[in-house]
């Protein structure tokens, strides 16, 4: 108790590493945007594939999705960073290998979000479009997707928020994001409490507005 009372918080020292903080923030944002966009592309492609009727198309996609949904992200990141280059016998750039696990993880969830959005559209919409003489591409583009994307956006934003936090796991492969930057500053200042509190505040400041935005989107879709 005595020790706790005696602790003197010193944020000034920790925050004086401005240059490092800014760089760390930049890395976190870059990986967030990059892996979310990569995941989105994977999600659209794989989500479309899941709509196919042929088992040999859908089965591998399901397999991919379940592998990434049912294993820890930390393991995925480590595995793609260290094991994949060995398995494939190729040299991958560090920044790429580090982001691969995160991207595929996001892609797995985006696939489910995309598929869920499409199949949530009433069967009557499909039959009415077909009855008018629309081809599969026409009815997808003009009838199904305009309705489905509206429903996909809120879960996708939610998953992106989770993804931004998940980039903190990159610190295990020494990518200098916010989290890793924090650990460097800790080793320099021996001020872990101030450092990790600052890290937490930084994530909160970025994410809180996003969650409010997501809630608004959801309300709009519900109308």
């Amino acid at each position: 108790m005595l020790l706790a009372a005696a602790y003197k918080w010193d944020f000034a020292l920790v925050l004086s590493y401005t240059h490092l903080w800014v760089k760390g923030l930049g890395v976190t944002l870059a990986y967030s945007v990059g892996t979310v966009l990569g995941g989105l592309i994977i999600g659209v492609v794989c989500g479309m594939l899941l709509l196919a009727r042929r088992k040999w198309i859908t089965l591998p996609v399901h397999f991919y999705v379940e592998i990434f949904r049912c294993t820890p992200l930390l393991v995925q990141i480590v595995w793609f960073y260290y094991a994949l280059p060995i398995v494939l016998q190729v040299e991958l750039p560090d920044w790429f290998a580090a982001g691969l696990g995160l991207t595929l993880y996001m892609g797995a969830f985006a696939t489910e979000i995309f598929r869920g959005g499409i199949i949530s559209i009433d069967k009557g919409q499909w039959q009415a479009s077909r009855a008018l003489g629309m081809t599969g591409a026409e009815l997808m583009r003009h009838i199904i997707l305009p309705q489905a994307t509206k429903r996909m956006v809120p879960p996708f934003v939610n998953q992106s928020i989770i993804q931004l936090k998940n980039t903190s796991l990159l610190y295990v492969v020494a990518i200098p994001d916010l989290m890793y930057t924090g650990s460097i500053i800790v080793s320099d200042t021996f001020r872990p409490l101030e450092v990790y509190t600052s890290v937490a505040i930084a994530y909160f400041v970025i994410l809180y507005p996003l969650t409010i935005w997501a809630a608004r989107l959801e309300a709009r879709v519900d109308q």
Binding site: G124, Q125, R130, A131, G133, M134, T135, H142, I143
Partner: protein, 261 residues
Amino acid sequence: MINSGVMVKVEGLRKSYGTVEAVRGVSLEVRRGEVVVMIGPSGCGKSTFLRCINLLEEPSAGTLQVGDRRIDFGVRQSMPHGRDLARFRARIGMVFQQFDLFPHMTALHNVMAGPVIVKKLDKPEAEKIARSLLAKVGMAELADRFPRNLSGGQQQRVAIARAMAMAPEIMLFDEVTSALDPELVGEVLDVMKQLAADGTTMIVVTHEIAFARDVADQVVVLDAGQVVEQGPAEEVLLRPRNQRTVSFLSRFHSTIGERRA
């Protein structure tokens, strides 16, 4: 060469789902401008039969001819695909029990959807067609409303206009008044009567026996996937010969008598 007066010719059409056969060899000929009403107990296969005509369902056997396009089903699969199938369906209008309007489009844009998306018509041209059809079904005033702001009867009238916008050679109606509140049934039936009077070729699946009596040129009674009776409306409805027709109609006879009086 097909008789020029015949729009639709179906021969020995069958449709099975696994071991269940929903349509068991139905034949039907519909001439230009003719109104055919199909009645029968629930689950008798009349909706399935209708959905086979525009290939929303793939028939298991039989032949189907719409206009000059003839398709044989059965031994060798000949179900059209892709653009070919879409083009086949574009010539046939269909209206559904649940309306199935596109909720992200106004009534006007629902009606324009076929001409614009399928026929690639200019928007102004499509709008002209759409507005005149909406006027015809009494929906001109509400053209800019979204489906969620329309009553069931209004939605169904828009759905009829949407199908008519493709200038189909034949219109299919699949229990289009079954999901409506009783007081809204009349406005939809009136639109259909008008279409019939204009010479539209129609196949109507319905439980509205009075409509069949007033509008149908030909009534077909289906039971357990087979035609049990077929002929002019007066004959089939008022002097049915088949026992199953008699028992099916007995539930409606009070209605027929009532409206006749």
